[in-house]
Every structure is written in structure tokens, then in C-alpha cells.
């Protein structure tokens, strides 16, 4: 235990995801010995992030104004709508450079163990967006785990009767690696789920 402010800083850092007590201590002492200008800059952005960053009123991605950059972009099409769990998933898909449509950020996945049901997600807002009739294909890009799959199924059951195409991202072997390096569970399931070409 340290005295006063440095211990407060260690405690606060330790509450961040993925930061253990050892790392919290290391970061705290790094900040203590850093250039005052660097520390001021960090403090400023920490304040700004809560003040200025909001959620896009259309897609619920993070934004600095009413709408996010993607929703404002006139070159993107409204025909394709990609549903993701979190803003970080938008960033991940954007990095692929494959997608020219819009997004809808649900804010999580259905997870009864954590008390999260459809009412806690932006599902109603999604349905309202689809009501405009512009969307031709809805792409479900929730995580490929139990909760993400359940969420995808739930949304698909709601949307299919509207006559919109619903698709799900393919999952399987990581590309760019050798088959021999895939672990046998992944490779075994990919084998089981093989499809005609």
C-alpha cells in the first residue's frame, strides 16, 4: 500500500478491464515519472471522452455529433445493414474494407445469465430502422459464441417475415495459416461443417 494519490491511481487503474494489480502499479509509476505535458494530455482526453463522445442516434456507434461518421457518409448504401454487438466490431469490419453499407450496434448480446434480454439491447430501434423498407440485406455479425448465435437467431426470426434477406458471417478456419496449425477442435468442426463448392 502506498500513500494518498498514487494508491488512488493504482486502485482506479486496477479497475480497468485486463489490468491486474501489478500492471496498475507499473502504469501508475510510469505516469508519475512522465513529462507533465503528456500527463495533462491524457487527463484532457479522459475528460473529453465522457463529455463529447456520444452514441449515434441512428446506429448507436460511438460518435462526436448527433450521427456517426458512417451514418453521415453519403457514399455508403442503405441497402445493406450489418448488425454487431459493440462499437469495436464496427472498427473491426471497417478494417476489412469489404463493407459499404451501414451498421447497427446492439450494445451487447442476449445473455440470461447476466440478465440481458432483447429489451436491454437496441432491437426495437433496429426494427424501426428496417421499417423504412430501404434495407435489402441484413447481415448478422454478432460474435460466434453461444450468446452471439442466440442473438443472431432471435433477430433473424423477427426480420425474416419482413421479406428482407438475412445472412450470417461464415465462421471456420482462420485464413492465412496452415491447416496443420489449426487446433483439432476448430479443424474438426470446420470439417464437419464443410460445404459443396
Amino acid at each position: 500500500m502506498y500513500e494518498g494519490a498514487i494508491q488512488d491511481l493504482i486502485d482506479e487503474l486496477g479497475r480497468l478491464p485486463g489490468v491486474g494489480p501489478k500492471s496498475a502499479q507499473r502504469i501508475a509509476f510510469h505516469i508519475l515519472s512522465a513529462d507533465p505535458a503528456d500527463v495533462t494530455r491524457l487527463a484532457t482526453v479522459l475528460n473529453r471522452v465522457k463529455d463529447q463522445v456520444r452514441f449515434c442516434t441512428t446506429c448507436f456507434n460511438v460518435a462526436e455529433s448527433e450521427q456517426c461518421r458512417i451514418c453521415r457518409d453519403p457514399r455508403r448504401t442503405n441497402e445493406f445493414l450489418c448488425v454487431v454487438e459493440e462499437p469495436k466490431d464496427v472498427v473491426a469490419i471497417e478494417r476489412t474494407g469489404e463493407f459499404r453499407g451501414r451498421y447497427h450496434v446492439l450494445g451487447g448480446a442476449i445473455n440470461p445469465l447476466e440478465g440481458i434480454g432483447p429489451d436491454n439491447l437496441r432491437v426495437r430501434e433496429l426494427m424501426a430502422r428496417l421499417g423504412s423498407g430501404e434495407v435489402k440485406e441484413l447481415i448478422l455479425a454478432t460474435d460466434p459464441n453461444t450468446e452471439g448465435e442466440a442473438t443472431a437467431t432471435y433477430v433473424a426470426l423477427l426480420v425474416k417475415p419482413m421479406g428482407i434477406d438475412v445472412t450470417r458471417l461464415a465462421s471456420g478456419l482462420p485464413v492465412g495459416g496452415d491447416l496443420e496449425y489449426a487446433d483439432e477442435i476448430t479443424l474438426g468442426r470446420a470439417f464437419e461443417g464443410r460445404r459443396a463448392v
Binding site: 440470461p112 434480454g117 453461444t146 442466440a150 437467431t153 483439432e184 477442435i185 468442426r189
Partner: protein, 375 residues
């Protein structure tokens, strides 16, 4: 396949020990509590990343030490491969294959294959259905690793579905007007049926393949005293055991039991409620078989796993912990004859005379914290 060398550091009762083994039979002899089972447990841990005795890693680390290391040199098809695991309770294990670290400890699975029979296996015959389901599922994963994923997915779906049912049950009990939100129940039903059908299909196929091996192994040990039969008992009709049929059977069963599941707040349908029924002649083994018969049956189940893996082209190490003391003279002789040909057989006993002389092999004396070859 056989283990040529086993080294332990701070594993269970051992501070530091190294044993040179060879192919064929090795008998580990020593009084109660000196650490014979600990040796087999260490090998079992390398083979499955799991102990047959405890569910957590903490008891595996020697009292007072922070971490345990198990290292073994496995010879397979004439090639040597060193597998090393560092067990740190509460943390992910660190593993090495040959000289290089691997990303996940899971990557060492398959380097050592072992079938272990231990006194705890009596529970396979006498215990709850969960014991027999685990027996089937572990063997399923040993043959086809993808079932580790199927099993994890299925368990997770059941957990989530139970949480949903439970929340709504509690909401109703505390007089909530909404009775909890069950709008996603159809989704969980669909996923339970999908993963459940895959697991069920695997278990059914395995049961069919295993049946003759169980009958043969029991007959060999018990010499004509009753025929052992296994049958999978499912909560749904499994007469057409392909996945599509099983999936719709599960969906129908879920629909039929929905009101009572909502009523009780728990999932009552699915392979997590099934059993593997063991019979001896016309009678169920559970509740009817004598102690010796139950013991022989449990042994037959492990020997059948061993034979099935061998039929698949895998030649696992066979380890028998304390088995001979429990059998009558005739059964001892027959067992020795049956397993004597294993590529590697590891046997433990407290009294050397309990092991039939016909088994032969090398003998090791186990004393407190040491193991010495007695020749």
C-alpha cells in the same frame, strides 16, 4: 505408445522424482499412501489435462509449493516426444512440446494417450447418470476432439436456458405481473436442439461401437458369469439416430415439456438428462450387481475404451490402479492374460503377491517420495 521417462517437480507428494520406464509391463509396489496413484494421476493429467480424483488443480501442487511440473518423454512409432506441463493453480497451465512452448496447454492433447482404471471408477456402475455421461463424453472427445467444442456449446446453452427459466420462475414467485421475459425461449430451444442433436448422435454412435467391446471385456474378466450389455437411454425417440431426426425429436420434446419447465424453472429435456444403462444378464448392474461384479463391470468399461481406441489405430498406455486386490484369483489370472499384451501397462498395488506372477514385467518400489527399480 509408451512413456519412457516421467519427471515430477512438486507434484502431489513428490518434491522431485524421475522414473525411467520401458515398453511392456511395469508394476509399482508400495504401502498405502506412499504416492503410487500420484504417479498415474500425473500421467493422466498430461493425457487429459484433468485429474481423475479432483476437479481443481490446487491439490495437485505439493503443499507449500507454488507450481508443479510434470514432464514425460513419450515414444510413439519409434519417435520420442517430450511433453511438459507447468501447473499453476488459478492460472492457465504452461505447456511445452519438444523444446518449444505451445500457445495453449490444449495443444499437448494427443501427445500422450492413456486409459486409466482407478478405484473411483466404481462410480461408473454405482453412481449417478452424470458419471456415465462423462465416461461417454470423454471417450467421444478422445476419438474426435471436435466434441469438446460441441459439449462446451451444449452445456453453455443449457446454462443460459436455465438462467432464463429461473429468472422468470423467480419473477412469478415474487408476484411480478410480467412473469419474466420468455420471448427468447424459442431461440434457446432451437440452439439446445441443434447442439443437443450433435452430442446425442455422437453418443449413440459411440454406444453402438462400444457395446461389443464391453461385452467381450466383461466376459473375459468374469469368464461366463453373465453377459454385460450397454444401452443408451434418451429422453427422446432415438430409433432414427441421424442428426436431423434427433434435432426435431428434441424440439418436439421441448415443446411438450415447456409448461412444466416454465413451471419449475429448469431444463428437463435433453442429453444432459440421459443415461447409459448397464445390464448384467437380465438385470441392471446398478442396485443388483455384487461388489466384485460392479468392480469387474467398471473395469470392463475402461478396457472397452482401450480396445476401441486401439481399433481406431491408437495404441494408448493402459494404467490399472489397485485393480488386482479387488478381484478373486480366477479373475486376476484372466485379467493378467487380457492386458499383458498392451504396448505399455502400468499397474499399482500395495501387496506384490496380489499381482499374478504371469504378468511379469519390471517392478518398481515406491517409498515416501522416491521410486526405485527393484531388480
Amino acid at each position: 505408445m509408451y512413456v519412457q521417462r516421467l519427471e515430477l517437480v512438486d507434484f502431489r507428494s513428490y518434491e522431485r522424482v524421475a522414473i525411467d520406464l520401458s515398453a511392456g509391463t511395469s508394476v509399482l509396489v508400495g504401502p498405502n499412501g506412499v504416492g503410487k496413484t500420484n504417479l498415474l494421476e500425473a500421467l493422466g493429467y498430461v493425457a487429459t489435462l484433468d485429474s481423475h480424483r479432483v476437479a481443481t488443480d490446487a491439490p495437485l501442487v505439493r503443499a507449500g509449493a507454488a507450481a508443479a511440473v510434470v514432464r514425460c518423454l513419450v515414444v510413439h512409432d519409434g519417435r520420442e516426444l517430450q511433453v511438459e506441463l507447468e501447473i499453476v493453480p488459478g492460472k492457465a497451465n504452461r505447456a511445452r512440446l519438444g523444446r518449444s512452448p505451445v500457445r495453449r496447454a490444449r495443444d499437448v492433447l494427443g501427445a500422450l494417450r492413456m486409459v486409466l482404471f482407478a478405484p473411483e471408477d466404481l462410480e461408473l456402475v454405482r453412481g449417478d447418470p452424470a458419471e456415465r455421461r462423462r465416461y461417454l463424453d470423454d471417450l467421444l472427445v478422445a476419438r474426435q476432439p471436435r466434441y469438446a467444442g460441441v459439449r462446451a456449446d451444449y452445456d453453455r446453452v443449457v446454462k443460459q436456458r436455465n438462467a432464463l427459466l429461473r429468472t422468470s420462475y423467480l419473477a412469478r414467485k415474487t408476484g411480478g405481473t410480467r412473469g419474466g421475459d420468455l420471448s427468447t425461449l424459442d431461440v434457446w430451444d432451437a440452439h439446445l436442439a441443434r447442439h443437443g442433436a450433435e452430442l446425442l448422435a455422437g453418443r449413440l454412435e459411440l454406444t453402438t461401437a462400444l457395446g461389443p467391446f464391453v461385452a467381450k471385456a466383461y466376459d473375459a474378466v468374469a469368464a461366463g458369469r453373465g453377459a454385460a450389455g450397454i444401452a443408451y437411454r434418451a429422453g427422446v425417440d432415438v430409433s432414427t439416430p441421424d442428426r436431423a431426426h434427433l434435432e426435431s425429436a428434441l424440439l418436439e420434446a421441448l415443446a411438450a415439456s415447456r409448461s412444466s419447465e416454465v413451471e419449475r424453472g429448469v431444463t428437463l429435456t435433453g442429453p444432459h438428462r440421459d443415461d447409459l444403462v448397464l445390464t448384467l444378464g437380465e438385470l441392471p448392474a446398478k442396485g443388483y450387481a455384487s461388489h466384485g461384479e460392479s468392480w469387474s463391470y467398471a473395469l470392463a468399461l475402461r478396457l472397452a475404451s482401450y480396445d476401441l481406441l486401439r481399433a481406431d489405430g491408437i495404441e494408448p498406455v493402459l494404467a490399472l490402479d489397485d485393480v488386482f486386490a479387488e478381484l478373486d484369483a480366477g479373475r486376476r489370472e484372466r485379467l493378467a492374460e487380457l492386458v499383458g499384451g498392451a504396448s505399455q501397462l502400468l499397474v499399482t498395488c500395495a501387496v506384490a503377491e496380489d499381482v499374478p506372477a504371469a504378468l511379469g514385467g519390471a517392478r518398481f518400489d515406491v517409498a515416501e517420495g522416491t521410486v526405485r527399480r527393484a531388480d
